[in-house]
Amino acid sequence: MGNSIAASGYTFVLEERKEVSGEDLGLLQEKLLQLNWGVQHPASGPMRLKVWVDGDEVVKVDPDIGYVLRLLEKLVEYRTWINAIVNVERACFMDDFGTMAGYSIAAEKIAGVEVPKKADYVRTILCEAGRIVSHLLGLGGIVGVLGVHTPTQWALIAREKFLDAFEVYSGQRIATSSIVPGGVRFEPTGKFIEKMVTAVDFLEKEFIPRYGEVFIDNPTLKIRTVGIGKVSKEKAVEIGLAGPALRASGVPSDVRKDYPYAAYGELDFKVVTREEGDAYARYLVLWEEIQESAKIIRQAIEGLPEGDYRTKFPVKVPPGEAYVNVEWARGCFGFHLISDGGTGPYRLKMRAPSFANVWALPEIMKNVKLADVPVIFASLYMCHGDIDR
């Protein structure tokens, strides 16, 4: 057949025009319909999923990425050690502190710089606030693809309070450029701490009770998400899921606990895991991690030590290599940084968790309904900026 392609055990009939007695039958003649789920689609974001459907059943999906490629890794090579953070933080706008912290720790490792204790604590506060901000959007996103925009709106209100704190701290609400090699860029003033406590208070006293009442045990939400996109523990390790998606399958993998960085070693928190491994479990992992993060912020604010918030970072860093993992909002983010003794990084390779999750899509989306595609997609909790970098 000229218009069909046999690939990976499937035969795909391409779109064609066949005329029967002068009438174009159009779409009815096609056994398999290829839908372009993206790039311009209400729920896809800037990436494309080629979805082949047979009636309402999804036969195969094929992710097509690269629409927001910004060459961040290459751009870093033209920056100085400090300046490079502006490129690193743009991996994803939702949680930029995690990436900055990872890059800074890698740079400090090569340069042999010891960071003051206070900087570690401020980094922890900022990273956890970034995680909350990101998870709030993720929660809203999962219910949002089911046609209800209330969670998104509620989450955005809680998010605004954190952005207010970031604004007081750095002057910017989203791209804060606040964590640099050698510490943090700004003094954590009393006003910042006050704003952060207000935000956490709002989250714990207003957002969590209100949201938990309506959208956690929601029966319709359960109908749609329980048992959808199920990934077993072994499978999750095999296909290399990351972050909340991995923890939802029962793998207690968390860099904060396993290889503590910043001030995480001194704080008390637990790694949230779920055994079910379906979309609802991933949703609940996000939900519980928000509460854990709020606790971490409170502890870090209480234990905030006195002293310097930044040490001098050398202009030229001796040659060397470092690989650092940090627990970013969407999973384990790896930084492989190489220095050749110059004023800036020689090469930076970022290992992105969302990129790992994208390639789990074809595995997970087998024999599901078309309506499950957005649910699984949103529950894997990916960031497009992070996929393409």
Binding site: L33, H41, P42, V145, L146, V148, T150, K369, A371, V373
Partner: protein, 314 residues
């Protein structure tokens, strides 16, 4: 009033247009309230003219017809849909004297026209010749057929109880007893109304995140406005029938009949808005299972119940 004035002004076209702008405004305000937002605010007093402004924005838009689409049908379908739903409203008595036509088979006419809407919406998706429209068209037929049977059965249960199909007679015969006896039918009717008019959580044919906008995907500007308006009017007509059959229509103390009618209607609408703000969309196969395994048997049992009650009363 002259008959043609009735059809044009009250309770005809102009009146309906204002009612829809207000319902749309109310929907946005209620949703905004649940979202903890302000909603429409700047255009007019309390943002009352925002929906009007939106309609005029849509009127200015370019008339886009997809290259592969069937041009005649593509332009015709919105108007067919509009005429069909407007015919439904003609039968509805908003008060003792405000109706356009009143026959002895009002209920039957409205239900028949509601049933006639599903092929129209299917054709809207079909003539667009677009994949998403096509899937949306198939879904709308699936959904409406499954929803119409409970709708017919529960509405006819009321007709059996009252012994007439004329809306004004039904309103006159309604009482507290009829409300209590028809309460199960009312619940089935409301659910079925949400299903066949694609309201959340049953907005499967227009599921934005799955099939973009279903059969409405390729429509734009004026055509789009007319199609969306006809969907709104369809729901309005079905809810009005619900008010007449189960809630006593324009009956009520002190206030004039038309006010009572719209208070009851607003309560039903409020219910749909809150459901929309809090209930995720369900899946097609789940909806079909619900319709055929739960709603239709319940509607049949309810009909049996109403017939038994009727036997004992008369």
């Amino acid at each position: 009033m002259e008959a043609w004035l009735k059809a044009l002004l009250f309770p005809g076209f102009v009146f309906l247009l204002i009612v829809f702008l207000m319902i749309f405004y109310l929907e946005r305000k209620v949703l905004a309230d649940v979202h903890l937002r302000t909603g429409p605010f700047y255009v007019g007093k309390w943002g009352l003219l925002q929906t009007t402004a939106d309609v005029f924005k849509l009127l200015q838009k370019e008339f886009v017809i997809q290259r592969r689409a069937n041009k005649l049908l593509f332009s015709l379908i919105p108007f067919v849909a509009f005429i069909m739903v407007v015919m439904m409203v003609a039968f509805i008595p908003f008060s003792e004297r405000s109706w356009v036509v009143s026959t002895s088979f009002d209920l039957l006419m409205v239900l028949a026209l509601v049933t006639g809407m599903s092929p129209v919406f299917f054709y809207a998706g079909w003539v667009s010749r677009s994949k998403y429209s096509f899937i949306g068209g198939l879904r709308v037929v699936n959904q409406m057929i499954s929803g119409e049977i409970p709708l017919w059965l529960s509405a006819l249960a009321a007709a059996v109880f009252f012994g007439t199909l004329n809306f004004i007679e039904i309103v006159h015969k309604s009482s507290l007893v009829s409300f209590i006896v028809l309460l199960p039918a009312f619940l089935i009717f409301t659910t079925a109304a949400l299903i066949i008019s694609d309201r959340p959580p049953f907005d499967i044919p227009e599921a934005e995140q799955e099939v973009v906008y279903g059969f409405l995907t390729e429509f734009g500007g004026f055509n789009y406005m007319i199609l969306v308006l006809s969907k709104l009017i369809e729901l309005f007509a079905i809810f009005s029938v619900g008010v007449i059959l189960f809630l006593g229509g324009f009956k009520g103390p002190i206030l004039p009949g038309i006010v009572w009618f719209f208070i009851k209607l607003a309560l039903l609408y409020l219910f749909t808005f809150v459901v929309r703000a809090s209930t995720p969309r369900i899946r097609m196969d789940q909806l079909l299972r619900f319709c055929w395994k739960v709603l239709t048997p319940l509607a049949l049992l309810n009909l049996v119940f109403v017939i038994l009650v009727k036997m004992f009363i008369s």
